[in-house]
Amino acid sequence: MSTLDEQGVAGLPDGAAAQVDVRRLRRQRRAELVSAVLHSKTFLVGMGILIFWVFSALAWRWIVRDPQAVDPSATLAAPSTAHWFGTDNLGRDVFARVIAGSAPVLTIAPLATLLGITGGATLGLVTGYYRGWIDDVFSRVVDALLAFPLIILAVLVLASLGREPRNVILVIGIIFTPLIARTVRSAVMVEREREYVAAARLRGERGPRIMAVEILPNITGPIVVEGTIRLGYAIFAAATLAFLGLGIQDPSPDWGLAIANGRAYLQIAWWMVLFPAAALATLVVGVNLVADGLRGAIEE
């Protein structure tokens, strides 16, 4: 970085001074942003919940007993000091399964979101920057896609392709791609009219470079917010598909699956469904609080 500065100073002193100013301004703005985020109660509460579940997903092996261990002498036992959340129909400890159940959903949902963000950002940059026929075709396709309850689309595809976790990730990621692309596209359309883009074009920079080096760093805010919101939807979708029997299969401790399995025992063992339901509820609400806090801080 310093060599670049020195070259700048030697060649264009005025420009270099301006550049330093811009850099200080950017650093200052980033500090303001971090402080705004850290002062947002919504963000902090959501982040606390999220950290708890991420920690559980990573460390459940060392903090709870084996979620697959079967105890035939204690099936469908009510919550007690021995089993805090009771046991299920096979005598497995529900508390251990709830803690370990964060792992499958927190693997599938972030990977699906990442896939959607990568595809969506690329598609959004291209359609928003070039406009023209690519953009027209894209908009029609998105409209047609949205004319469709997305869960039904996922059901159609998973019923045909098979229910492996890989397919769940692919389906959610691919459905997210055009939706994320639409948000990115509208941000790109604002940025492409700015002077710095015109300047880059006059310098002779090519489209792909302008998109990746000039525009992309300036739209990270909306992309991060969109990504967090989508993560919430991805958790929602992955859990729903597991509940419908189209996602993760037995004997995974996944929450959606646990609720589907516990349905048959609702009358006699409410703890089999209520604890996984509560876990899932806290996770999705936590992610949404984080998203809301981030959006508030970035928009202000």
């Binding site: 919504t42 409209d143 047609a144 949205l146 004319a147 469709f148 309850p149 997305l150 869960i151 039904i152 689309l153 059901v155 159609l156 595809v157 019923a159 045909s160 392709l161 919430g232 929602f236 859990a239 729903t240 509940f243 419908l244 029997g245 189209l246 959606g256 609720i259 589907a260 516990g262 349905r263 609702l266 009358q267 409410w270 469904v273 209520l274 339901a277 899932l280 509820a281 999705v284 609400v285 992610v287 949404n288 609080l289 809301d292």
Partner: protein, 314 residues
Amino acid sequence: MGRYVLRRLGLTAITLVLVSFAVFAAAQVLPGDVGRTILGPYASQQQVDQLNHQLGADEPVVKRYVLWAGDFVRGDWGESPIQRVPVRPLVLDRLKNSLILGAFALVLIVPFSVALGVFAALNYGKALDRIISISGLSFVALPEFVVGVVVIVIFAVQLGWFPTTSQVPSADPVDIVRQCLLPSIPLMFVLFGYISRMARAGTIEALRSNYTRTAVLKGLPQRHVIVRHVLRNSLLPTITVVSVQVGYLVGGLVVVETLFSYPGIGELILNAATGHDLPTLEASVLMIALIYTASNLVADVVTALLNPRVRLAA
């Protein structure tokens, strides 16, 4: 106005043709052998081929699409190879059941959500506004089956006020509430979140506008300003949101009907998709697309009727 409606009708027709082709392609082109699904893993390949030929599953896709679409328009929706019954009465009956449930949820939650959204906006920034906004935000995030099992455990299992599974209600209002209230609560949670958020945002925007300021400054009473100036403008976007939510509602119905074993079209779609019952799947998904596009059309026309700017721009 006539031209606007005509143009929207044309666009709707194009969307429907595209969607019908997509539905057909999704159901037919994706792997999954119809004959094999019906006959099971122990049938010989020859038997499977023969059944596929009988069902017309070995013809080219475009030909099959044209045949299918023609039959569909004429009212011949085929026969379900799995359930061995004609598809049309099956789908229409399930659709009717779902409409009862969906309408029940919409009728209860739309006025409530709009009222709370407007109320939050009028108390912008105060504690009440925060509570309404945060709970709306959280409700949207909750998967339907999570809310569903919680209400089942509390109101059906512990308190015993409602059945744990729901049947199609008779015309008796008490029975309608008994069968429909629990399954529609998860749907209402999500709808409340979206609709109240939109009503709040629209009202805040209208409150900040110049025409509202003018109305206040010329001394109109507050009630009059809110009813005649703010609400008329703020509720327009809400109409669009409600119509978009009809599409959501169908997706939500898949989950809720499965959870409550309610014989609606969502449950039918799930079973048809997992059982490779293609005629049923195609007909029911297409009906849903039809309802969704129709509700969007109605919303656009209503918006145009209420808003001269939209009407004249077309």
